[in-house]
């Protein structure tokens, strides 16, 4: 009997093959915005999608057929696949922006701009490949930072595509590939599933789990859509119904994925309505709650999860307290005309890492910016949702750990002090382990935010302050998408690239990207540190 012998190249073959299947998936996905473009008669955008889709499918098939190997991914490979897979998707996903920008004639692009405005279409910013890449990364990672200064001017097709990338990126690309293709075996699927979600098994098999996650996710998006259509119609009866439908479908997708792209020029502020601001709070909060939580509520009929589930409870409480505090701080600073309206909306938008904006953060006072960064953007929503940030569960664990450590001084040496956390009882060893991994992650996370804030500080325009730099950096790292204006098509390429890296690491919780770098630098052999 012979054992299959694997050499170094088998790993590459396996990686490329996995990337190949993701590309095929991407090409299928691009058909949806293609159809939307045709509906709206945007034939240049449609051709852009068609060409991109063809490129993706050719690349995908050649990678998949060209690299045949029996090599099965191991745990470390799963992380590399996730990191590389997301990178490849963001790169290939930028093609529609780039191609459409090049093939759309000026007079056609002019039609996208609203009448009576004098700016040129933002579509042409995407002629710069870095901008296209930025937009694509911001979409797939559900961040929401944008290069399209005047959103409506890029055309309905691309607007839909942007929102659609957020929807797909939100629940996870790899989960989608598991759910749709179902080709990986159980072990590999589990490994891959763990890299972009909590790894919580909802059904006995991973493929079933992935499918039920997608069903739930799409179900809630559909609910948000109906809610927004009806809400908008009631609040703004004069608003054109076809526009209402287009806005609501896009906003339902970007709200549920906590992405935060908008189809309006000034995001949600574009409605100029207090009631609309409040209407949009619900989709954001829905998006920040974990999918396993929905699974328990909807499939298992455990309504009590609303107050029993630690993450859900904490998010709701934090939303309430944080928005009150932020409002009061804004009121005290006196720079904002409606502090409560702004405070509530922006805090919820930041905590849920959605990034819909109703206020110019640049004019805020320093303490308010630091507060929203520290208590909302860095924290983020629930693990198992589509949010970024450190995740509320880790923050709670660390606080519990601090309290636990202090309490331990008061009991005898031999005492076994159990920690009750999230309906589990953790032994000291388990707690130390959990605490170490949560603390390590949070530390790396904050390090990323700080380093990027410093880079921002050196490469940004002179009229911004260090708190603005911190805000923008935390926004990119937490895949929030709120901006104080530093992100724009004229920004330094170094900074733009930094944010791309941040969004990428932010979506994958950093570690997979670090594993990828380790692999590139030192290979996959274990090493004594």
């Amino acid at each position: 009997m012979t054992f299959p012998h694997h050499n170094k190249f088998d790993i590459f073959k396996m990686l490329l093959k996995q990337i190949g299947s993701l590309q095929i998936l991407l090409s299928i996905i691009m058909v949806v915005p293609l159809i939307v473009s045709i509906i709206y008669g945007e034939y240049y955008s449609a051709s852009g999608f068609l060409i991109s889709s063809l490129i993706c499918i050719v690349t995908g098939f050649s990678l998949q057929k060209g690299f045949q190997t029996s090599f099965e991914p191991l745990h470390r490979h799963a992380l590399i696949i996730a990191a590389l897979g997301w990178l490849s998707i963001a790169i290939m996903g930028s093609l529609p922006f780039l191609i459409t920008a090049y093939i759309t004639p000026t007079d056609v692009a002019k039609q996208f701009c609203q009448s009576g405005t004098d700016y040129t279409s933002s579509l042409y910013y995407f002629k710069n490949p870095l901008h296209a890449f930025f937009e694509s990364m911001s979409g797939f990672t559900t961040t929401g930072l944008t290069m399209a200064v005047h959103e409506p001017s890029i055309g309905k097709g691309l607007l839909f595509y942007r929102s659609f990338t957020q929807l797909l990126g939100g629940a996870g690309f790899i989960i989608l590939s598991i759910a749709v293709l179902g080709q990986s075996n159980g072990k590999v699927a589990l490994l891959l599933y763990g890299t972009e979600s909590t790894g919580e098994r909802l059904k006995p098999s991973i493929i079933e789990t992935a499918r039920s996650i997608w069903k739930l996710y799409l179900g809630i998006t559909l609910f948000s859509f109906v809610y927004l259509v009806i809400g908008t119609h009631i609040i703004l009866p004069g608003y054109k119904f076809s526009e209402n439908i287009f806005d609501s479908i896009n906003h339902a997708m970007t709200g549920q994925s906590t992405g935060g792209f908008s189809t309006l020029d000034d995001s949600i502020a574009g409605y100029h309505s207090l009631k609309m601001d409040m209407l949009y709070l619900l989709p954001m909060i829905l998006g920040s709650l974990s999918l396993p939580f929905y699974f328990k509520v909807i499939y298992n009929k455990q309504i009590n999860q609303f107050w029993k589930n630690l993450q859900t409870r904490s998010i709701l409480i934090l939303c309430l307290l944080g928005s009150i505090i932020l409002s009061l701080m804004l009121m005290k600073s006196g720079v904002i005309s409606e502090p409560f309206r702004t405070g509530i909306f922006q805090f919820v938008s930041a905590l849920t890492t959605t990034g819909w904006q109703t206020s110019d953060v640049h004019i805020w006072d320093g303490p308010s910016i630091v507060f929203i960064v520290m208590s909302a953007m860095v924290v983020g929503g629930a693990a198992g949702a589509t949010v970024g940030g450190i995740k509320i569960i880790r923050v709670l664990l660390i606080f519990k750990g601090i309290f636990w450590n202090i309490t331990n001084f008061f009991s005898s040496e031999n005492s076994i002090n159990v920690v009750r956390f999230n309906e589990r009882r953790l032994l000291p060893d388990e707690m130390n382990k959990e605490l170490a991994s949560a603390a390590t992650f949070s530390y790396i996370y904050l390090l990323f935010v700080l380093i990027s804030a410093l880079i921002t500080y050196y490469f940004m325009d002179g009229n911004f302050t260090i708190t603005d730099a911190l805000f923008e950096s935390a926004s990119a790292q937490g895949t929030v998408g709120l901006s104080c204006g530093i992100t724009n098509p004229e920004m330094s390429p170094v900074l733009e690239f930094t944010y791309i890296i941040q969004m990428w690491t932010g979506r994958l919780e950093i570690i997979p990207v670090l594993v990828l770098f380790r692999t590139i630098l030192f290979g996959t052999k274990p090493k004594i540190v």
Binding site: S412, E413, N414, S415, I416, N417, V418, R420, R425, D429
Partner: protein
Amino acid sequence: MKIIIAGDGEVGFYLAKLLVLEFQDITLIDTQKDKLDFAEKDLGIATITGDSTRYKVLKQAGVESANLLIAVTSVESSNITTCLIGKKLGAKFTIARINNMEYLVDRKTLDLKDLGIDELISPESLVTREVRYILRSPALKEIFNLHDKALYLMGLLLEEDTYLVNKTIVETAGLIPHNSFMIVAVHRNDTTIIPTGDLHYHKGDLLYFVSTEEGKNSVIEYAGKKTKGIKNVLVIGGSRTGEYIALKLSRYYNIKLIDKDIEKCNYLAKNIPNVQIVCGDGTDIKVLEEERLEDFDAVVSVTGNSETNIFTCLIAKEYGVKKAIAMVENIGLFDYSQKMGIDTLINKKMAAANFIFRYIIKGRVLTHLYGVDARIQEFTVKKNSKVTKKPIKELNFPKNNIISGVVRNGQGYITLGNFQIKAEDKVFIFSLPQSNSDIDPFFN
């Protein structure tokens, strides 16, 4: 009366030993031949070597005609299987010993009676119940529930110079609130006496009372004791008994549990909420001092080793702990450990045996008290029996037996001289072993 006992372990052997005094037809089944040989020689009972879950073995033991099948091996599933098969084969009443408390908790949903197991016993939970009763009234040395919260048998030690010392029972009768309790036995210098009115109380007497629910506190007052409140309890030993005590009593007390084994500690810490687990040697004074032994109101020592338990309780008493309870499985140690000053002894075997006795015919309950040579029997009075004819004082009841309470329609009554017993009453008789006169005719 044919009784089959499966499992010649501690409980099984002790049970056989007690039962053989009353009944002849006892068969013991076990897989270990040498153990059975010993039982056969020592008790003179029939034994069968083999696995009690096997049809053939049960058949050989004569299960078709058995009145009672008791499965008390250490393996729970084998006990259940034995009872299921035994019942199918014709055993009239089956009792299975279990370790998994889930069966007791979910009794309603998991009705094993339907399947053929008439009663489940778990020595650990029985012992826990005893501990709970004792901690509730810590002044007592023992307490037994004679009948569903209607009548209790309480034992307490007359210490120091209380009012009662050197007085006769008649002299102190004025202190007894009307019909709430009566004294039924005095244990003095290793002998048990059924008292008469002119008996003097001595210091160091162990007194037994039968009391109604309302009379419980009066008993403690009468004996000159204070009702001490227990708040902090230290449990030493994380055996199944310790685990169950911690689990059940954590609702009422602050419990700290000490065990030596780190694996076991981790298991307990993970599974018992609201109990502080400490990993350390419960006999090490340093460890106990660090856990601030003096702050505890009660210590319950339930390690697998009787000597360790006795020793730890002695240390606890030394440190001023109000109540020390030791689990002593070795019955030979009973007398000495009581003399050394341990407040209360508990014993799994006796708890299980006492419980099983409730199911033995003649409607009797036989409660064997720890270290006291006496028993309590229960009779249901038949119509027109001798006892219903006259008040108690005119009955001329045999010596060394005392009628110590009646339960009528669920209500407990204390039976003084002019009490009239009626048909259908449940009568409790406290009797000494030297009384060989038959009291059955009084009730039939």
